[in-house]
């Protein structure tokens, strides 16, 4: 009897609460996007967090130049640019572009933003990207010239990054909680712990955009909760955070569409080159031959993604497919190990962080693979904070697996202090040459040489490119398929008209 009363009470409360009425997630002009991590702040000049750029970049704030959905550099706030000597870059700003506070964006704003990035006091996370800038000359309200101290082949790429966004100086103090820019959406509110809401900028400088009226980024961390929210219709799209195991299930569901594409995220098995036995190139090559990458991709990613053979990702214009340069060959791996003095293999520890599930799953397949060549891998799972401190900062590790999402990150191999501890004068020379070679053909050749040298030296084992896995309700259109930039451009996204 008592139980019956309790059940009846429960149902009554549920019905009462249900009577509240709420807008269903999918309504024209509105989009609710799941976001895996809440950003630590919304100021892209204060944090390098991808959770921040994933919301703010391209949507609220923009740069002079933009990386488009195909990975190409295209005009954004600058309608064109010009350089005669690769030392002086002149940008011609679009006229009539207004910040969300109503003021027109002018060349003085550009100068202010870059000078602020270069000021050590502001602790800009990407100050290093702009240190080649010697002088910024405002010629008139819509023309600004950057005079570089040295030739920098990446200058335009760097001007297109999140750290180079243009914002009005009068909002600097409140950008962390209320970003203002020129983007297709205006910031409306941030309910900490729950959501960030953006609304349409009716005065956007690209006519006809954005197509949506309102975008809500809702913070849902747990993948199972994301799945439930999608199925219950509480969110319209998950752009990042669902694993391949969830996506498989959703692919069969007629209510959803799964978008898979390329990214700049290279998942690697890093080896500590400063530690025995990984200082020996024969051991590193043996590790490369000994890992069955096809199995890793199948086991960890359900076959989604692309096998990599070197560091440059498939979205990079200088990408060369070297995935078959060192194919799976356990016999050869064993021979190399024997030559290096390890005929019976060795024991080693692989540190991975369960924060990124795919690293743990990949680790299990890698360990299984390496066992066949006598390398006994003990997997140690550590929390993300510890991974950053012990593995990344102090290089206190033998092996680790992680995805490097930054585009153009081949520079890390030229840094002997980077946690791979790969120290090759030959590679460093090549890289330095690539930084000052502006001619595209010549630069491409250097990039090809760098990629081939990396295959030879095998400082890490490149496993696979982590695919883009986005899931949305059917009818959502205009999302980027590939992700060449660390942003979620929603300006062209809309709902297909109902049939």
């Amino acid at each position: 009897m008592n139980r019956r009363i309790v059940v009846a009470m429960l149902c009554a409360v549920l019905l009462l609460a249900g009577a509240g009425g709420e807008t269903p997630a999918q309504s024209p002009g509105r989009l609710i996007v799941q976001s895996q991590t809440e950003p630590p702040g919304l100021d892209m000049t204060a944090t390098p967090a991808t959770a921040t750029s994933g919301i703010v970049f391209y949507n609220v704030q923009e740069s002079l130049v933009k990386v488009d959905r195909h990975g190409k550099l295209v005009p954004s706030l600058a309608e064109r640019w010009h350089t005669a000597d690769n030392r002086n870059y002149t940008f011609f700003l679009k006229k009539g572009v207004r910040f969300h506070n109503g003021r027109e964006m002018k060349a003085a704003d550009v100068k202010y933003c870059f000078e602020r990035a270069l000021n050590p006091e502001t602790k800009h996370p990407y100050a290093k990207d702009y240190e080649a800038i010697g002088d910024i000359i405002v010629k008139d309200d819509y023309t600004v010239t950057f005079a570089l101290k040295t030739v920098n082949a990446n200058f335009l790429q760097n001007v297109a990054r999140a750290g180079a966004s243009i914002y009005p100086r009068e909002t600097v103090d409140t950008m962390k909680s209320h970003p203002v820019g020129t983007g297709p959406f205006r910031f409306e509110e941030w309910v900490r712990g729950d959501r960030v809401v953006l609304v349409k900028n009716g005065d956007y400088h690209v006519k006809g955009l954005p197509k949506l009226e309102r975008v809500t980024f809702r913070f849902v961390t747990d993948p199972n909760a994301v799945l439930a929210a999608l199925k219950a219709g509480d969110v319209d799209a998950s752009l990042f955070g669902l694993g391949p195991e969830h996506v498989q299930d959703l692919q069969k569901d007629a209510r959803f569409q799964v978008i898979t594409g390329d990214t700049t995220n290279d998942v690697i098995l890093a080896m500590n080159n400063s530690r025995k036995p990984y200082g020996d190139v024969r051991v590193r090559r043996a590790m490369t031959y000994g890992v069955n990458k096809a199995d890793v991709l199948k086991g960890a990613m359900f076959g989604m993604g692309k096998i990599l053979g070197t560091n440059v990702d498939p979205l990079n214009p200088y990408y060369v497919d070297l995935s078959k340069a060192m194919p799976y060959d356990p016999a050869r791996a064993k021979k190399l190990l024997a030559e290096a003095g390890y005929p019976n293999g060795f024991d080693t520890v692989l540190k991975v962080s369960p924060q990124y599930d795919y690293t743990v799953r990949s680790g299990q397949v890698v360990a299984d693979s390496l066992k066949k060549i006598g390398v006994n891998v003990k997997i140690e799972q550590i929390e993300w904070g510890q991974w950053i401190a012990r593995v990344f900062r102090e290089a206190d590790y033998d092996l680790t697996i992680i995805g490097h999402a930054e585009a153009w990150d081949i520079k890390n191999y030229a840094n002997a202090k980077y946690y791979y501890r790969y120290d090759s004068a030959k590679f460093q020379d090549l890289f330095n040459k690539s930084e000052v070679t502006v001619d595209d053909k010549a630069r491409r050749e250097i990039y090809v040489d760098m990629q081939k040298l990396l295959v030879e030296d095998a400082p890490v084992v490149w496993l696979f490119m982590h695919p883009r896995l986005a899931v949305t309700k059917k009818g959502l259109q205009g999302l980027w398929k590939d992700l060449p930039a660390s942003a979620n451009d929603l300006s062209e996204v809309s709902w297909a008209p109902a049939k």
């Binding site: 249900g18 509240g20 009425g21 709420e22 390098p48 509480d234």
Partner: protein
């Protein structure tokens, strides 16, 4: 009574000092500092050094603790390293989620456990008793996050009655807000109810064996009056003790369930702060939760006197 209250307040202060020192040391000996987590894999060593300096992490530990404690005594818990807002304000902003959640869960716990426990005791070793005990066993065995997910699957995905997670805020109306909190409150209360059913059953069973219950029955009183008046109140002391401990546990349980239901509460704040090593927030939340538990225990002690007038506080 006055001396008793003074003693309890002294104990409260001692507990808080101990908890704060413990949390302060533990979060600092963990590998991984807030500056390097904030910079992730992108920051250079120079940027890291600058940030550490700006965050005040380079100063000696005792100096940091003394400063923090001094601030806490003045009601200033410091600023969140991650969000750059006062910790006190951050905690207060999360209370409208966590407190109603804990309260709803407690209501659910009491509403489900007390009648079921009494029912089991009065039907000792009969089918109803066994059914109640099996139910309670299941409730204890099922992890909270799992029951949370099951509830989402059934009520949100399948029936579509309530949201699968998130919290619109009280400003959007009591109905929608309650609707967001209902499933997590049930999931949270379920486990605690399962424990409380057992405590209630055994307490009521004990009292039912007392002489005065036999006397009441011999006088010809109806069973409802025997159980409702003579037994239940006398069985409440152990029940209130267990329920008091459970109220504290509801706070801890909220950490997991707020993640499953994507609720912007204190638990999720704490979890995020721990992974980001947002030390002032971790300390602030720990201090707040510890104070709440001490206050709840104090309230439980006072309740003893109300339930059993023979108890004196000297």
């Amino acid at each position: 009574m006055r001396r008793y209250v003074a003693r309890r307040i002294a104990a409260l202060v001692a507990t808080l000092v101990f908890v704060s020192a413990l949390v302060f040391v533990v979060v600092r000996v963990l590998p991984g500092d807030p500056a390097s987590i904030m910079l992730g894999t992108e920051g250079s060593p120079e940027a890291l050094a600058r940030l550490r300096d700006a965050m005040g992490l380079n100063r000696p530990l005792p100096v940091q603790y003394a400063e923090w404690m001094g601030g806490a005594l003045r009601g200033d818990l410091g600023r969140s390293l991650q969000y750059d807002v006062p910790v006190g304000a951050l905690i207060v902003s999360r209370l409208p989620v966590t407190l109603p959640l804990a309260l709803l869960a407690a209501l659910f716990m009491a509403a489900a456990a007390l009648p079921l426990g009494v029912y089991a005791a009065t039907h000792h070793r009969r089918a109803g008793d066994y059914a109640a005990m099996i139910l309670s066993q299941v409730g204890i065995s099922v992890p909270q996050f799992w029951s949370g997910l099951l509830l989402i699957l059934f009520f949100s995905v399948h029936l579509g009655w309530v949201r699968s997670g998130g919290f619109e805020g009280w400003s959007s109306g009591v109905g929608p807000a309650l609707r967001s909190l209902l499933l997590p409150a049930i999931a949270l209360g379920l486990f605690q109810a399962a424990v409380l059913v057992r405590a209630t059953r055994s307490a009521v069973l004990d009292v039912l064996r007392e002489d005065y219950v036999r006397t009441a029955r011999a006088k010809g009183l109806g069973e409802a009056r025997v159980v409702g008046v003579h037994t239940f109140r006398n069985a409440l002391i152990p029940v209130v003790t267990v329920a008091g401990i459970q109220l504290g546990q509801l706070m801890a349980g909220a950490i997991v369930l707020e993640s499953v239901f994507a609720l912007p509460g204190l638990g999720r704040l704490a979890l995020g702060a721990i992974s980001a090593r947002d030390l002032p927030v971790v300390q602030g939340v720990a201090l707040f939760v510890a104070s709440s538990i001490v206050v709840i225990n104090f309230a439980v002690d006072l309740a003893y006197g109300v339930l059993d007038p023979r108890i004196r506080y000297e």
